[in-house]
């Protein structure tokens, strides 16, 4: 990137020729921008504002002009487009090859992604081909004397770690969905330039053949529209016990939802699943019963207005995001709660 930053040249402790700036990978599908790319943009802009660097974006696909124009309205140095027939359908080989050439041409110091399923499918291969380190699934950052320190959750969100890159730039980093708010992305004073980047994919061998995407079953319930949700997790122990939670949901007039293990066991249908592989919801009330709060679940519900957690484990990560918590045996608490709700409703 044509960004000079003498300060970071001095700061480079490793003695390598300093790469410059931040390159943001924009994800699109069929010409539609993935919203989580804007969240990653907020992280990139935040880092840049503290290091005095600039952010450029790159977008890949067969025809990406509308996505490029949309993203060019943001505060960016430039948007680079890579358009090629071989990128019409996402494949790891095509994306690795194109992104690798982009990174080599633009020589950024840091490459930022959103931690989507697509990024998970190709970016580790890209990092390995570049021989660079990749800090995945970050939820935050801070800048320490020119170094970016990334915050990563480990043990499924039970602990946080501060991670420092100690290898030569560029480093790659991905941010977890929901770590930043897309509407906080800074707009530019005027649209930034859009430049076509020329890469050569003619020799790139695409080894995987993707078929058409599909949805398993027609979504019978749209949980995103439900104002009240009662969700059930592993703590419920058996299918027969789901009825306990259903009664509470009925008493409240809420929809019942579940974490992944419940749907994997087919105790509730797939369309009731909340989380990264299910639906993302933000109801007025999210009452989590026997749900520990693994990241994959939390990303699907953490923006709920009021979160209540009932769990026997006081250390369960769900309590970190709950407004109200009851620590105890759900088999005692849920029936008591159902009775109380029914009582209050009959009185009012």
């Amino acid at each position: 990137m044509r960004i000079r930053n003498p300060q970071s040249e001095i700061r480079n402790r490793l003695g390598y020729k300093m790469s410059q700036g931040i390159l943001l990978f924009i994800e699109q599908r069929d010409g539609v921008l993935n919203r989580t790319s804007l969240e990653a943009l907020v992280a990139a802009q935040g880092i840049a504002s503290q290091t005095g660097e600039k952010v450029a974006a790159v977008v890949l696909g067969k025809s990406v002009s509308s996505v490029a124009a949309e993203i060019a309205a943001k505060k960016l140095e430039a948007v680079y487009t890579i358009e090629d027939d071989k990128l019409a359908e996402y494949t790891p080989d095509g994306y690795v090859s194109a992104s690798k050439q982009a990174i080599e041409q633009l020589a950024p110091r840091l490459v930022i992604f959103s931690h989507t399923y697509q990024v998970r499918d190709f970016a580790p291969r890209l990092a390995a081909q570049l021989g660079k380190t990749f800090v995945t699934d970050c939820v935050g950052f801070r800048v320490d004397g020119g170094d970016v320190i990334f915050t990563r959750q480990v043990f499924q969100g039970k602990l946080n770690t501060d991670v420092r890159v100690i290898s030569a730039p560029p480093a790659l980093a991905s941010f977890q969905a929901g770590s930043y708010r897309a509407d906080k992305a800074e707009a530019g004073d005027s649209p930034c330039p859009i430049n076509a980047l020329s890469v050569n994919l003619s020799d790139t061998q695409i080894r995987t053949q993707p078929e058409a995407k599909f949805q398993e079953a027609k979504q019978a319930v749209d949980l995103t529209q439900a104002p009240l949700i009662v969700a059930v997790g592993r703590g419920i122990k058996s299918q027969e016990n789901i009825e306990l939670v259903q009664k509470l949901a009925d008493a409240l007039g809420a929809e019942i939802a579940a974490s992944r293990p419940i749907c994997d066991n087919e105790w509730l249908p797939m369309d009731r699943q909340i989380g990264s592989s299910g639906q993302t919801v933000a109801p007025k009330l999210y009452l989590a019963v026997g749900i520990s709060g693994a990241i994959q679940h939390v990303v699907g519900m953490k923006n709920s207005q009021t979160i209540v957690a009932i769990n026997k484990d006081p250390e369960a990560p769900i309590f970190d995001i709950a407004d109200y918590g009851i620590v105890g045996d759900l088999f005692e608490i849920v029936p008591a709660l159902t009775a109380e709700v029914l009582k209050v409703k009959s009185e009012s």
Partner: protein
């Protein structure tokens, strides 16, 4: 069809985690271990494929002596043999790159059609080791796989995408697949399986056997500090007997949160 399964042993899900004295990771004292969940599903999928198509299931795991317990569990469930990468030098492989480099080196001379890993581990959760192994061994790959259908020299897999979308992807074998949790029903080891496992080979491999030095395994990223997450919200814990707690909660939901 021969399938390699990469297994990782991790602290049990319900472990109470304490920060270690150096503030860089957890204190491993009083921790008990289990196979990382997604890896257990990867193993199960490999065993089911073997039952359908024949061949051999080889498990490979990197870690200290305690890891043998998880390896033995895999052998008792029906894996045929195991490779255990055990060496103090491997302790310095603390990022995905170092771990993948060691595993890829150990698999260089193996004959396999598929390599399975879990989609990510329950401890570090890098979600990278599988793909770096694929890159190092020159294999095509697919991640977050829900179904595996071998077809002659190719494999067709169902990938999970986000928000309830899926996609079938086909590639030639050998290939590497990262397996999603919950794609099958896990089996338990039988007594017969446990007895049979005693005769199965667990080959120990040292870093020197792979020509790897500490320099080769040096991480590109390190943990500066490990800590309990700061609460983003102030959680009000409601105490009391179930009926009392229920009454208090309902009152708060009605008058503070005003949700009904």
């Amino acid at each position: 069809m021969n399938i390699v399964v990469c297994l990782k042993q991790v602290p049990k899900k319900d472990s109470i985690l304490r920060i270690g004295g150096d503030q860089k990771w957890i204190d491993y004292r009083d921790i008990s271990y289990e196979m990382s969940e997604a890896d257990a599903y990867a193993l199960e999928e490999a065993l089911r494929q073997k039952e359908k198509h024949g061949g051999e299931v080889i498990v490979i795991s990197l870690g200290p002596e305690r890891v043998r317990q998880s390896i033995k569990e895999a052998l008792a469930k029906g894996a045929d043999r195991a490779i255990h990468l055990q060496d103090p030098l491997f302790d310095s492989a603390t990022d995905a790159d170092g771990i993948a480099r060691a595993i890829a080196a150990a698999l260089k001379d193996e004959k396999y059609d598929l390599i399975f890993t879990g989609l990510q581990s329950d401890d570090y959760g890098f979600a990278q080791v599988g793909l770096i192994i694929a890159e190092r061994l020159g294999l095509p790959s697919a991640t977050i796989v829900m179904e595996v259908q071998p077809e002659d020299a190719a494999v067709r897999v169902k990938r999970e995408l986000e928000s309830g979308w899926f996609q079938w992807v086909k590639m030639s074998m050998p290939a590497l697949l990262t397996i999603q949790s919950g794609i099958n029903q896990l089996r338990y080891a039988t007594l017969k399986g446990i007895m049979a496992a005693k005769k199965k080979e667990i080959r120990e491999v040292k870093a020197a056997d792979l020509g790897l030095t500490a320099e080769d395994l040096k991480p590109g990223q390190v943990v500066d500090r490990a800590y309990l997450p700061e609460k983003t919200k102030r959680t009000e814990i409601i105490e009391g007997k179930p009926s009392e707690a229920a009454a208090k909660l309902v009152e708060k939901l009605r008058f503070e949160a005003r949700v009904f």
